[in-house]
């Protein structure tokens, strides 16, 4: 047996798993759901973009995804910047503290907001104790709750992506800009931000893709009032058993994620050449 054929054999089991566990079923969703023809799926897909109910869900999913992406960048970039530029020995601990939530179950992390935002929760009880409101404010099952939950889930990803990019920008460049008379703010916006832009694009892509496909957060914190594409997909496939609608929702979700990732990859390449 030649060396090359040995290596090809080594690939076979992995490719088999990919084919059966991922590629073939994923193609099946597009074209041949049980009890729904390709035409059913595509006419349902067209309907999703005309029906006001479906449009509201798509709009909410994309809208909340954008808000969460912006929030994660606004909070995550400064954290990454401070950590990457700090010489304090606490920086390592704080970096670990930012990464640790990535290991922790989404269900556990999201459940925390039920305790914080629930009607008997910390914020409600505090605002009553301080005399701000007479009854606990409705915080759960609102878009605010979803935004908080998703930001908590994806902020670590934004921090990691920004941190990697910022630590590749030499700290000496900051000093050079400062030495040439640029202020702290100007150095930040004219040197640090542009040079770490590829990392920012990666962070934005990861956060957006995660937000528009997340299930646990809208399920626990949005309830039946704040439905999103992910909760719709589950209810079509396992509650109402509407295969055409489930496939159509899956297609919308996939296209959304692939489109944004593709766009980001192009942006990243452009950023690298200029």
């Amino acid at each position: 047996m030649t060396r090359r054929s040995t290596f090809v054999l080594l690939l076979v089991p992995g490719l088999l798993f990919l084919l059966l566990g991922f590629i073939l079923p994923a193609l099946g969703v597009l074209f041949a759901a049980p009890g729904a023809t390709t035409e059913d799926i595509f006419s349902r897909l067209v309907q999703m973009f005309t029906d006001p109910y479906d449009l509201r869900i798509i709009g909410r999913t994309v809208g909340l995804g954008l808000v969460v992406t912006a929030l994660c960048l606004v909070l995550g970039f400064p954290i990454a910047y401070l950590l990457a530029r700090s010489e304090s020995r606490w920086a390592g601990v704080l970096l670990a503290l930012a990464i640790f939530p990535l290991l922790l179950s989404n269900v556990v992390r999201t459940f925390g907001w039920l305790v914080v935002l629930g009607s008997n929760g910390a914020i409600g009880q505090l605002s009553m104790a301080l005399g701000l409101t007479d009854s606990p404010p409705q915080l759960l099952y609102t878009s605010f709750a979803i935004i908080m939950g998703l930001t908590q889930l994806f902020l670590p990803l934004a921090i990691v992506a920004c941190y990697s990019a910022i630590s590749q920008v030499e700290a000496g460049l900051d000093d050079a800009a400062r030495g040439l008379g640029a202020g702290r703010t100007r150095t930040f916006w004219d040197v640090v931000v542009p040079l770490s832009l590829p990392g920012v694009v990666v962070a934005a892509t990861l956060v957006f893709a995660g937000s528009v496909t997340a299930y646990t957060t809208p399920y626990l914190l949005g309830g039946s009032r704040q439905r999103m594409l992910a909760t719709e997909l589950y209810s079509y496939s396992s509650v109402t058993i509407d295969w055409a609608a489930a496939s159509a929702t899956a297609i919308v979700m996939t296209v959304l994620v692939v489109l944004v990732s593709g766009l980001a990859a192009r942006l990243g390449r452009k950023g690298a050449t200029t």
Binding site: L75, S88, G118
Partner: protein, 265 residues
């Protein structure tokens, strides 16, 4: 580090609060002696930990989760490591395409993959839930296995293996005494990452569940829907403790920020 950058520092404090504070509240709620998720907690007791440990659905779900996570991690490594070797050492045509294929499950939303497996294998072919879950989790972990062990291989010098071959070692011997030691930290990291990823997974486990095949996260989601008591807080606190143990193991061996953040310092 905070004194001279007030805006960045206050945004950072807000960010850390959003990431950490809800987790602290879960822990506080778990030790309540009351029967609701009221703040502040009413007294201290371990009753909800006892209740959680005795709750049969959670015990069954934990067992399912552990079996699934161990088996899928083992399988993903068993088929992923040889594939990584072929990708990085095989000098095969279309190397980039093959590697892309192994990373492709990362692009498609997991819920969509879950729906696909549910429709195509469970509904159409009536295959049992557990094998399909195992297949799905393994496919999901393959990208991690290939990327993390691949990084260990790419960072090593191939001429070491050529030297061993040149000195007369058989391909098997070369693999076990030269390549495998290089791969070991990568395999270990991929194993930890895979176990955590499978254990915490919601989308696949949600869509592929059956009454008697339900993982712990799904069983927790199910419980929250029905009752709103501190038992979930107790289970969450136990999961948190387990995760801290894994983080410490990671830090003592390969380096925590390297495994889970992909950050090389």
């Amino acid at each position: 580090m905070t004194s001279r950058k007030p805006i960045a520092a206050s945004l950072a404090v807000l960010g850390y609060m959003i990431m950490i504070v809800p987790i602290l509240f879960v822990v506080a709620a778990a030790f309540t002696s009351g029967s609701s998720l009221r703040f502040p907690p009413e007294g201290f007791s371990l009753q909800w930990f006892e209740a959680a440990a005795g709750h049969t659905p959670f015990r069954a779900a934990l067992l399912t989760s552990l079996q699934l996570a161990l088996l899928s991690t083992g399988l993903a490594l068993a088929v992923g490591v040889p594939a990584t070797l072929a990708i990085h050492r095989g000098k095969l045509p279309g190397k980039g395409f093959i590697e892309g294929l192994f990373l492709s499950p990362l692009i498609i939303p997991e819920l969509v993959v879950g729906l696909a497996l549910f429709q195509q294998l469970i509904v159409t072919y009536r295959i049992d839930n557990f094998p399909v879950l195992l297949l799905g989790h393994t496919a999901l972990l393959l990208p991690y296995a290939v990327r993390v062990t691949g990084a260990a291989l790419a960072g090593s010098d191939e001429s070491l293996e050529e030297a061993a071959r040149g000195l007369g070692a058989s391909p098997m011997r070369t693999f076990f005494s030269v390549t495998l030691p290089v791969l070991r930290p990568g395999i270990f990291s991929a194993g930890l990452l895979g176990f955590i990823t499978s254990f915490n997974n919601v989308p696949l486990s949600l869509l592929l569940q059956a009454r008697d095949t339900r993982t712990l996260p799904i069983s927790m989601l199910d419980y929250v829907q029905q009752s709103y008591d501190p038992m979930i807080a107790a289970v969450s606190t136990l999961i948190l403790a387990g995760t801290v143990v894994i983080a410490i193991i990671a830090e003592r061996t390969v380096g925590f920020t390297r495994i889970f953040g992909g950050i090389n310092r």
